[in-house]
């Protein structure tokens, strides 16, 4: 497969450090895929080939690993990927309303990317933040909790200005009561 992707020397150095951590090269697959995703924004088949080549592992193995984890993007995504949780707690607290609001606002459906390549929306399973439902995660990173339509407007505006929202610590009810 002809490959248009290439790791920078810094990436390769980082991969070497990763490899040095393990007695075998296979466990380095996951962190190396992260290095690739950070560099290219996704791990498309071509990137999977690059990772396999770099680690000298079978491509099939890298493919198997990459397809298991939803956090690795197997196709090109927007600069910001909005993972809106729609599992039970979020669903009951309006997760789908938030999802649909986002869809209308950005003019795309869940699973799609805006034309300018800024945003992708995904409807995802539980992210383990049921206490702050409804919530979403931005590009495998910051959680945005207790979503409302206004809050979503704000988040989108700040992302358009390339500013990630701050992580907000939300105490669990029992903690807030005590303080």
């Amino acid at each position: 497969m002809a490959n248009n992707y290439e790791f920078t020397p810094e990436d390769l150095k980082e991969i070497e450090t990763i490899k040095a951590k393990f007695p075998e090269v296979m466990p380095a697959t996951l962190p190396t895929l992260w290095v690739a995703q950070r560099r290219f924004g996704h791990v498309e088949p071509e990137v999977q080939h690059l990772v396999a080549e770099t680690l000298d592992l079978p491509v099939s193995h890298v493919h198997g690993v990459a397809t298991f984890y939803t956090q690795y993007y197997k196709e090109k995504m927007g600069k910001y990927v909005l993972d809106v949780c729609t599992t039970t707690s979020c669903q009951l607290c309006g997760g789908y309303d938030m999802l649909h609001y986002l869809e209308n606002k950005l003019g795309i459906k869940a699973g799609e990317t805006t034309k300018d390549g800024m945003f992708s929306i995904q409807s995802v399973e539980c992210l383990g933040a049921c206490g702050y439902a409804p919530m979403m995660q931005i590009t495998n990173d910051v959680y945005v909790n207790n979503l409302t339509e206004e809050k979503l407007d704000e988040v989108i505006e700040s992302l358009k200005a390339d500013k990630m929202p701050e992580f907000e610590s939300v105490g669990m009810p029992q903690h807030t009561e005590r303080s």
Binding site: M1, P45, Q48, H49, A52, P58, V59, S60, H61, V62, H63, G64, T67, F68
Partner: protein
């Protein structure tokens, strides 16, 4: 010696066998899908559950603790264990589904889980009839499914590679195919993608499953997920008849089964032989079956005017054969044996002609340098090079062969596609009168003056000596015009053969080829020439060879059958060269 108690019966064992293999080796059964004796045991199908316990032992004295009845106290594993990955220890107590309701229930529940997303398409599935999932569901599975919602849908008819087609919905993700590419063929071409409820085996994107051994994954697939693109939907398993045979496309002598229906060979599958190929065979060899069915020479043909061949009668063929010989001296006749023909055929040819007066016999080896691997493919492209040599045929190079043909007046050529494989050009066969005994219509048979059809490996019982000097034999699978399944005791019958009649619409007389074994042809020729040669069946010919040729000492069909082939003494593995 360490002991183990399985279903209340005591067995002794040595080393550290795995429980499932030990149970199978002792003629008992535990259902399983993912385990394969040649590969690692990942224990991921969870079907081979058994209840296992070990005796409680006093750590200081090493004595077994006994209960009030004087029986050993058994400490059971808290959960069922997968027997495929369970290492046996001294004093272990095992209950399989035969002696434990609990185990039977656990296996049934596992099966229900495996079947949840499995489509109910057995009626159109190629695997039906030889499907471990189907068989074991009947034996150990639940009677119905409690799963009432829609099954998960996965890709169907995926062309994994040039020879293998995947139906992902049928897959139970046992990973046998993945492990095959990792551990046996070493190409690492397959992986399980999208692990979860939508998982199935696939190649990496942009890659093809073109492993030279890819079709073995079809054989070991315990369901109908991986199917042979060539054999797909051609025949139901129970319509076919299975006959043990030998692969003739290479020097390894891979043991195979020929699957026939109405005297057509429909597929080849590997047959287990621990000394040769174990469970595997190369893809290359699987297409050999087309040669048994297609382009067969039926009835002798003779060159009439110019280069046109016309069909002729057997009488005329034998008569012409004899007349052409009688017109020349034995020294002017070149007799070419063949590494592509069996020991018996070459022997019959040699004996007849040496009785008539021919002294030297030649054959042209068929070796492709660099074709072999360290596994089942060999540089030697012929199944019987060592056998022909042992009979006394001398290996002859292409140049010497051309010169010999030029100086001969009559050439007798036993089944060997010399022109097709580039040893000779068709113009080399122009000058002498060439009589070929052949199975298939080829460029070679077209360039000869008299073509006499002989049986191929699928139609006769005959022996072949592989590159390692191991002699193995075939059994007839296809009837010719002159043989009959019910009369030839070497032949077996499938259901359609047994219960069908000639008037059934699935029976086609045309599938029977008008040909005879070489030794019968030699009988007729010998009789016409007034020679004192007489051959019986190939079994008797082998006895004759064994008593007259020291290389074949002690060889007989009975022994070959009992021992799955015989290693000939004085023949070790040395590469044949061109």
């Amino acid at each position: 010696m360490p002991e183990i108690f399985i279903d209340g019966k005591r067995y002794e064992f040595e080393g550290k066998p795995k429980l499932l293999q030990f149970i199978l080796d002792n003629g008992k059964e535990v259902p399983f899908f993912c385990y394969h004796p040649e590969m690692s045991a990942p224990a991921n199908c969870r079907q081979c559950y058994v209840k296992v316990g070990t005796p409680v032992q006093n750590r200081e004295t090493g004595e077994y603790e006994l209960d009030e009845n004087g029986e050993r106290v058994i400490r059971w594993f808290p959960k069922m264990q997968t027997s495929c990955s369970m290492e046996m220890t001294d004093g272990m107590v095992v209950h399989t589904q035969e002696s434990s309701e609990e185990v039977a229930r656990a296996q049934k529940d596992t099966m229900e889980l495996i079947l949840i997303n499995h489509p109910l398409d057995c009626p159109i599935c190629d695997q039906a009839g030889e499907c471990p999932l189907q068989i074991q569901t009947y034996k150990y599975g639940p009677e119905g499914s409690r799963f009432e919602v829609k099954k998960v849908h996965k890709p169907k008819r995926v062309e994994l590679g040039p020879r293998v087609t995947l139906d992902a919905e049928r897959c139970i993700n046992c990973t046998r195919c993945v492990r095959f590419t990792e551990e046996i063929s070493g190409t690492h071409q397959l992986t399980i993608a999208s692990r979860g409820d939508k998982n199935y085996p696939i190649t990496a994107p942009g890659m093809e499953f073109d492993d030279p051994y890819s079709l073995n994954t079809v054989d070991i697939c315990p369901v109908g997920a991986l199917t042979s693109t060539d054999f797909r939907f051609k025949a139901r398993v129970w319509e076919m008849n299975q006959t043990p045979s030998i692969d003739i496309t290479g020097g390894k002598g891979t043991n195979v089964d020929l699957w026939t229906r109405d005297n057509l060979v429909l597929r080849l599958t590997p047959r287990y032989n621990e000394n040769v190929n174990t469970h595997w065979m190369p893809d290359e060899s699987r297409m050999a079956y087309t040669k048994f069915n297609e382009n067969r020479i039926s009835r002798p043909s003779i060159k009439a005017d110019g280069d046109n061949q016309i069909k002729t009668s057997w009488n005329n063929a034998i008569e012409t054969f004899a007349e052409k010989l009688e017109a020349v001296k034995p020294a002017d006749v070149l007799v070419l044996g063949s590494a592509h023909a069996s020991v018996e055929e070459n022997y019959a040819l040699m004996k007849t002609f040496s009785t008539w007066g021919v002294n030297d016999f030649h054959f042209s080896p068929d070796v492709k340098e660099g074709f072999g691997d360290d596994f089942l493919l060999t540089d030697d492209q012929a199944p019987n090079t060592k056998g022909v040599k042992a009979l006394g045929f001398s290996e002859t190079s292409a140049e010497d062969l051309k010169a010999a043909i030029k100086s001969a007046k009559v050439v007798v050529l036993l089944n060997d596609e010399l022109v097709d494989r580039g040893v000779l050009g068709s113009e080399d066969l122009k000058k002498p009168y060439v009589i070929s005994l052949a199975t298939n219509e080829t460029e070679t048979s077209k360039s000869t003056d008299l073509v006499i059809p002989i049986t191929c490996i699928a139609e006769h019982a005959a022996s072949y000596v592989n590159v390692e000097g191991r002699i193995q034999r075939s059994l007839p699978a296809k009837e010719t015009k002159y043989t009959h399944r019910k009369l030839d005791l070497e032949m077996s019958e499938g259901r359609l053969d047994r219960y069908g009649t000639n008037f059934d619409n699935w029976v086609n007389e045309d599938n029977k080829v008008d040909c005879t074994p070489t030794w019968e042809l030699m009988n007729n020729l010998g009789k016409r020439l007034g020679l004192s040669v007489q051959f019986g069946t190939s079994r008797e010919i082998m006895d004759e060879i064994a008593s007259s040729n020291s290389s074949f000492e002690g060889v007989s069909y009975e022994k070959m059958d009992d021992e799955n082939g015989i290693q000939l003494t004085g023949m070790n593995k040395e590469e044949v060269s061109a």
